[in-house]
């Protein structure tokens, strides 16, 4: 039980004096992600644009991972597998009914959220190390499964496979209003902002308070009338939803997905990104997620062997574990202090 409260001690730094209102936070989110995305959209093309689109999808997976770790202290090592589930469900749904793209995203998100909740069920009885191990087993099992059954490509039957030639493959169409690479990237950026809003809304309302109490002390939470199973399952469902949306967006980016693209290692790297970015602020999830794709992409671009990326992430984890704020946390703290100073100056 004590492990929950010890899981992520935040250092007692002087709190910024000026109040950060929800409205100000929302404006910051739109401004920061918007500015970064517009710069990327107008300066990058081809290789980098595709990689930044993937990076935003990874940021969504990290957002879900950070939600579980930051709010409840739960280590999930299967977020990338859940992205795969979302991608699979959305492709399956797409090839059955050819729906509008936004609907596909929602179905992918809900599919992964249901699976995430079912996966979370054993976890409701488990904490700490065992939860991390269970999720790792799930990621491993999913990797084996998806390598065998692969992703639907419009063929007959439930699995939707076509013959070995692959000539009859049908790819998933992008939304009509964002069919180009730049347009699709901006569309993914908008979805990312909406997902960050969704998480922020949770953190600042009843579920967030329930999670905080559960994390502080589960028995105390139960005694104060918090429905523990319900709110834990909710957290799993929400993080699964975010991963599922990421999967659907990836499916839209490439039109199809490959069974070999969902190894257990990426789920581990997602967790590393969560720690690296910082799990307590939205900026951390965004930065951490983008880094998890940016670093390998940069290595490929520089003609460096991508295995060096594993060394970087591995070493980063060893150091990130000692700094609970992470990159995003540090930046947020800095920004909030500057803002406080600015407000104080204006008042005097």
């Amino acid at each position: 039980m004590t492990e929950m409260s010890k899981a992520a001690p935040l250092p007692a730094l002087a709190p910024p004096t000026a109040e950060i209102t929800p409205r100000l936070r929302a404006i910051t989110i739109v401004a920061v992600v918007g500015a970064v995305s517009v710069v990327i959209a107008f300066t990058c093309g081809g290789y980098w644009l595709s990689n930044f689109t993937q990076a935003y999808c990874m940021a969504l997976a990290v957002l879900g991972c950070a939600l579980l770790y930051g709010q409840l202290g739960l280590v999930s090592l299967c977020q990338w597998a859940l992205v795969g589930v979302g991608g699979w469900v959305s492709l399956r749904f797409y090839h059955y009914v050819h729906p509008p793209f936004v609907l596909t995203i929602l179905v992918g998100g809900i599919g992964a959220s249901v699976i995430g909740m079912i996966w979370g069920l054993p976890a409701l009885r488990m904490r700490g190390l065992y939860l991390a191990l269970v999720t790792l087993m799930l990621a491993g099992a999913f990797q084996s499964l998806v390598t065998v059954i692969s992703f639907p490509v419009g063929g007959p039957g439930f699995l939707g496979q076509v013959g070995a030639s692959g000539n009859d493959r049908i790819t998933m169409a992008r939304p009509v209003f964002a069919s180009g690479d730049t347009g699709y990237f901006l569309f993914v950026a908008v979805v990312t902002v909406l997902c960050i809003f969704l998480v922020e809304a949770h953190r600042r309302s009843k579920p967030g308070r329930a999670w905080a109490l559960i994390r502080k002390n589960e028995q105390m939470a139960a005694a104060s009338g918090v429905r523990i199973v319900f709110y834990k399952a909710w957290a799993f469902a929400l993080s699964g939803f975010l991963a599922g949306v990421a999967g659907a967006l990836l499916a839209g980016l490439f039109g199809q997905l490959d069974g070999s693209a969902f190894p257990t290692t990426t789920s581990i790297v997602i967790f590393i990104g969560t720690l690296l970015g910082g799990y307590d602020v939205w900026l951390g999830a965004f930065l951490g997620g983008v880094l998890t794709r940016f670093i390998p992409a940069l290595l490929i671009d520089l003609n460096v062997n991508t295995n060096a990326g594993f060394m970087i992430f591995g070493a980063a984890l060893l150091f990130a574990l000692r700094d609970p704020l992470g990159l995003g946390g540090q930046l947020t703290l800095l920004a909030e202090r500057l803002y406080s100073k600015f407000q104080a100056q204006r008042a005097s």
Binding site: G128, A132, L133, L136, N307, G309
Partner: protein, 289 residues
Amino acid sequence: MSLLPFIASGIGLGAVYALASVGLVILYRASGTLNFAFGAFGGVSAFLAWQLGDWDIPAPIGWIVGITVSTALAYGYGRLFAPRLAHRDRVVRAVATLGLALFLFGGMALYWGIGVARRLVLPTDLNFVVLFGVRLSYTRLIALGLSLVMAGGVGLFLSRTRIGLAMRALASDRHISAAIGVRVTQIDSLAWLVNGFFAGIAGILLANISRLDAGTLTFLVIPAIAAAIMARLSSLPGAFIGGMVAGMIEALLIASSPEIANLRSAGPYIAALLFLMIVGTGQGVGARE
């Protein structure tokens, strides 16, 4: 169709998992850390042994160098990094070793490449016994024997010696152990040293039995953890049996229909998940967290 040949090959595979699984549980019992880098330490040892052999250096020197380096790596981590995380909970300490595993994996993959068909040849490959029509090389038998000896020997060491007692105290509660005079850092690094030594030997055997590949050896810990879960991470004989069960499940899945045979690598994970769902983590080490 007779299942006996599959059972025999399951014993061979079980030897691999049992060796890794016992290795994991040893450190967990002795210091409370689940070492995801066990496979990576073993991988480093095996690659060094292979590399030296490739340079025409006598094989025994290669083995000694490999085992020494993996022991040194484990000791170095136990001395430099592990104490800094010692006050954190079990999951954070375990995840940290995941970082180490990825780091070593990246390094091995960078230097020796991935997916290159290599095998570490050992002199014990030439001799084999035939069980139900399946050849079990002496290397596999040694792996089986070693995991039994490790399980039994370390079990006795932990339960009968003074240092073993100190290790168990440390694994149980670091602060109280320190308060009653256990030399926490020394005992902890000793546990890591022993773990690195076993990892080095296991790595050389596993690189021979399965493949000399950075990914295979590093991530072998994941099915091994599935086996260790079936021993609730605490019982050494249980870890041995868990490893054998995991190997047997995979081998028997090959004997089933071809569709299921493709999914065999998921077998140990699903068995571990079912075990946790039905039997639970119990009141053992997991419950104390």
